[in-house]
Amino acid sequence: MSERLGPNVVATIASAASAVAAESKIPPESAASVYRKKKPPPPDTPEGTRTRSLVILSFWIVVITVGLPLWWITTAIYRAPLPLKEMQSWADGRACRAEFPLLIEVEAPTLPDPENLLKTVQHALDDANDFSAHHLRLRLSTNSSQVEDGEESVAATLRLSQGATGSPHSYVLSPSSRAIDLFYSPSYNPTSLSAFVASTLQEIFAEEQQMISYLLASSAPAPSPSPSSGGGNGGNGVKVVNKVNTVEIARKMSRIVKYSPMYHLTFSLFTAAGDPSSWEIKEAVSEYLQPLLDALGGISGFTVDSQIQFYASLSSSVVPTWVPDSEEEGSSGKYSLKKEDLSSFINSAEWPLVSITSYPTINFIIYIPATDQSPLMIPTSSTNAFLLPQWGGVMIHNPPAETDNTHLTKEALKPALDIFATQLLSLLGAPTHPASLPIRLDSLTRQRSAELLVSASSTLGSLYRLTLALPSISIPSSVSTSVSSTLTSLTAACQELRHGRFGDALEEGRNAEEQAEKAFFEKSMVGQVYFPEEHKVAVYLPLMGPVGAPLLMAALKEISRLVRAWKASKLKK
């Protein structure tokens, strides 16, 4: 067909081809026959070929040594190195096996052979204990009251003394000291006494042990020491209690406010009308609550404020029902709140309860209903109060009708504050048992240390997963500093726990938690710029495409030429 084309057409093709001629320096043999007026091109000089190769090479050298590093450096995201392995092992609970050795001093001046008794009791305790991280150790009091520095704290002092004749073994806990007064029956045999001592101690620390084992178990996904693996002897029923209480413990744990070194307590008086217009809350708090707050001072600090809110209405979904006392017409009665009402009792849309403090707020509310809704009762509560998990407590106060309602005295506030004190303890997670407050607070310290350890470890775990999941996130060096500080504190806390110095452990745990949170919530990390991949393509392609294509083609041609030259030289040989 090409023969049929006129010379003009051929010329057009030829000139068009010349524009792209350089693309292929290999003459296709068949093409030569197409064009009749064909002159062979002047032979390519070896210098020309050499220069061309050098030009291509130098371009590539510049691209690889300058261009790529420059591109890499200017677009790289800074990721500080993190001790990922350590972080993971803490998160899995493998790094530290928390231990809570409780030291119990025994004073038995009247007992003939205290060492032997101690041995038996220790045996019984060890046998019965199925959660090895938390164990009791007995020590005979040396009567020398000097406490060495760095000595582990004594969890409780057991004072054995002879009881009245004929009475069985019994014990008494004083509410304000760590001493357990145990009175043994004068007609005792050592076996029964040791069993009694062991069961007493177990009873006292059972709740704490359950809490801590729950805390540690919930953190580690690895199989926790299962209760059934423990010895079956002991015969004290602790194990049964343990199983029964798992639900109860979970419920208790869900109430607890997250640990913070400071809490803000807000006492609010919400009244549905314009009175009472004043209350002696300042005096009441300092008299009834301050001692407890001071006692808790070693664990957390507290700031207190109060407010009165008038004309506070309940949310519209809360409708108390009228329950008459008797069937008679016009008899007295009360308004009662259903259980569902309690969950929406707080009218958060209208009640100003928010604080701007940087630490958590615990709210305590006294609500005084309007006269047309009075008395307002919660039938399921004898104290007419309820606790809102992790938030605070509410008490409904129905002032006696005949008194002056414009002012609430300190005395009138006492029942409310007593309830609030109990609620505060359960919100903070103090065990309800035993009666002795110092022992309970010690328990709380250990519990909080365990909690801090667990939560700091899990924060580290989250950070670990986050850095792996988001490769485009930047990690500033401050995060790496915080992480290493967390790790140091965690290790120290673990050590302190093992040595029974729980106060120091709490301190270290606090630091670990704080640093871990700081690392996780690092601002520059959270504010990651969302830059999708297709946008990157859109930005790079206009430059990379037109520049890269000729470079790549030239390189390919040059390589194929070299390969052919090499083959040819081989053939010659």
Binding site: R52, G274, P542, L543, P546, V547
Partner: protein
Amino acid sequence: MRLLSWPSVTQLLLAPLVIASASEYNDYSENLLLKSLPGNSLLASFRFVSNGTFDSHHSVFPRSLAQILQQSQTKELHLKFTLGRWDAEQWGRQVWDGRTAGGTGVELWAWVDAADDAEADARWTTLNNALSGLFCASLNFIDSTRTIRPVMSFQPAGHHSPEGLERLHLLHGTLPREPVCTENLTPFLKLLPCKGKAGISSLLDGHRLFDAQWQSMSIDVKPVCEEDGKCQLQMEQTKPYAGGDSCFPLSGVTDLPWSLSEMFGRPIRGSCPLAVVPTEEATHVCVNIAEQRSIFVSQGSEERKKSPELRCFILHENIDFDIVLPELSPSTNLLPTTPPVYASRSLTGHGQERGGIQAVLNNPSSNSTVEFVYLESLPWFMKPYLHTLSATISGKDDRNIIQDIYYRPALDRKRGTQLEVRLRVPPGETVLLNYEFDKAVLRYTEYPPDANRGFDIAPAVISILDPASQKSTFSIRTTSLLLSLPTPDFSMPYNVIILTSTVMALAFGSIFNILVRRFVGADEVIGGGLVSKIRGHIMAFAAKRGRAGGDKPKTE
């Protein structure tokens, strides 16, 4: 008539609550002033005062606000939300000497206790963020570029000890663009002990309130000390509101009838039991109207006539209160009171590069000279030339008008311009204050989403000075301005990327080709590349088709 202009004033006052329980009622008082304005307008001015303590136990003083003040170490706070324009020519001077009204949008100034400027800035930021949450306003956008430290315009209103005063830093921020609406009114009402459920605050209903032509909401907190040295924290919340209805020409001829329930949509729901027990002086509601106008009130309220033009009422608990005024012809306007200065401000110039500002300041008094401080807080992208600042009286430049200038130039993206000029205007004269400025070009990301709307420039604050004490006695705000800046095409960055890339690729491609290609004569080409092969194929195909087409008729 309907609401044309009714300022409502709310004042809250904080004082230490060491007082016995019976006297605690004194911690809160409220009153409402209704004043008829020319042009069938009505001014309703609410004022609420609450006293509170410095400690952390709060009663009528709102805990939320006290906590913020404590957290940010703020000793005195003034926060104003304003909407609309006060028509001084028609309505005369503002109530409360203009102290309770701010410029359009939000205006906030506070005295913050701090050791140095950096600490003051940090506390100021805390304050703004906290107030922003409390009042549902964008106060958190008051950053360093919108903050100034006025030197001459403001003086603390509360009592501060001399050594405390030295540590106080005055910071002033404005948000001229902030629309004031019901979401700001609700938190305002929540600060009141009776929460709009009883007392005069029950009139403050968002549905009707924002129909007003002008309204302002202000919160002033200051410490108040007694003479024996006992100090209290006092908060004054004021809310003037002006509304009215003069949409038909009758307005000047007759006084239209109005009633409280018609204007506010509801009557006053009894008195607030927490407010001060009313006395001869302290009444709940006062009406300031012409003597000739008759007035009807609902039963169960006591009237106290203070003067022929001021009639006051005491409310009772749980009894609704309403005021009805019948129509009266001819119109009986009160004489409008003249403000010390009439001020207006406008943009001059044209184009996208330069502009100017002209403020017209008129002293209406026939015999006394007025002295005041004119304060401008300009954004950094508006760069004024101080040498162009001139004050002229009837076209003549007068060196004696400008008494003093305080000027702090802007830093790009760090702070705005602060310009304070003390002026003295002779009686009956009008001063033109002019200056020119450059418009900066912003960065791509600095433009708001609606960049073509323009940028709001905060109102100028005019503080009239007392000739003797040189303290501010009255304040006036001009309206805000809308400045249009050169606005780019916002698809620009990608266009720029494409264009530069293309130019670079072109340059690279041609240089690379010249260096790498071998040049031969057109007739020396041995075969074609891929393109010439394809082209050859296309040519061949076209030729074939052409032949086939030519053959067709033959076969037919």
